[in-house]
């Protein structure tokens, strides 16, 4: 499986219900071969950075199609994981 880092632009004005329902909708509709690993919010830039695991970029984009309007994708990169423990 490949890993992807995605940079999303956050909405300027959004209700809690919209955010929570969108996140739950993504989680509930994920195919077995796609995994949302974690996310980081950047307050100073109103961006969301998410890490995904999937077979390819197309699969991740497809999993996110319902929330593209709320959190448009700015950048998506396939990445290679590096573990700090490797250097101990």
């Amino acid at each position: 499986m490949a890993r992807f880092i995605i940079f999303h632009t956050g909405p300027q004005d959004v209700s809690q219900d919209v955010v929570v329902e969108a996140a739950r909708a993504v989680m509930c509709s994920l195919p077995n071969d796609v995994k949302w690993l974690n996310s980081w919010y950047v307050p100073s830039e109103n961006r969301l950075i998410c890490e995904w695991e999937a077979a390819d970029e197309k699969t991740v984009r497809s999993a996110l199609k319902e929330v593209m309007a709320l959190w448009p994708i700015e950048l998506m990169h396939e990445v290679v994981h590096i573990e700090p423990d490797w250097y101990k």
């Binding site: 956050g10 300027q12 004005d13 209700s15 809690q16 955010v19 929570v20 919010y41 307050p43 109103n46």
Partner: protein, 135 residues
């Protein structure tokens, strides 16, 4: 020791905010007032509406409102006492509480998310108040 969400507790919270340099720095551009609502535990109790007006790193005014309609703050955050207790005791991060709806929010979530440091320092101010919880 002050009972959580009492007038005495709210006044001590107000004083803790205004004594906090960390909050002042984190919230220096913040403009927005709140209701922090303690939801009733049963039909025998009533909600408590804590009004807090936060402006440029200071608390300008706090009071317990008689009803929700008394003020029209920009943000309304409500939860039962047990959830507020987790926030005050720093067992629940306020942002985690908001984006998982453990703390129910009316208002622009994005504005609060951009002020995450201020939200955390506000919680730190509650820890300065000797708080007694009923549950």
């Amino acid at each position: 020791m002050a009972a959580f969400a009492s007038t005495e507790w709210l006044q001590a919270f107000h004083e803790a905010i205004n004594a906090s340099k960390a909050y002042e720095d984190a919230a220096k551009t913040w403009e927005g007032d709140f209701y922090f609502i303690v939801e009733p535990e049963s039909s025998q109790t009533k909600p408590v509406y804590m009004y807090v007006d936060l402006w440029h790193g200071k608390s300008r005014r706090v009071f317990i409102a008689k009803s929700e309609s008394e003020m029209q703050p920009e943000f309304v955050i409500s939860a039962p006492t047990n959830v507020w207790k987790k926030v005050v005791e720093k067992r629940l991060d306020p942002i985690q509480g908001l984006i998982t709806r453990q703390l129910k929010l009316k208002g622009n979530l994005a504005k609060i998310m951009r002020a995450v440091k201020a939200a955390q320092e506000l919680v730190n101010c509650t820890t300065k108040v000797q708080t007694e919880f009923s549950t």
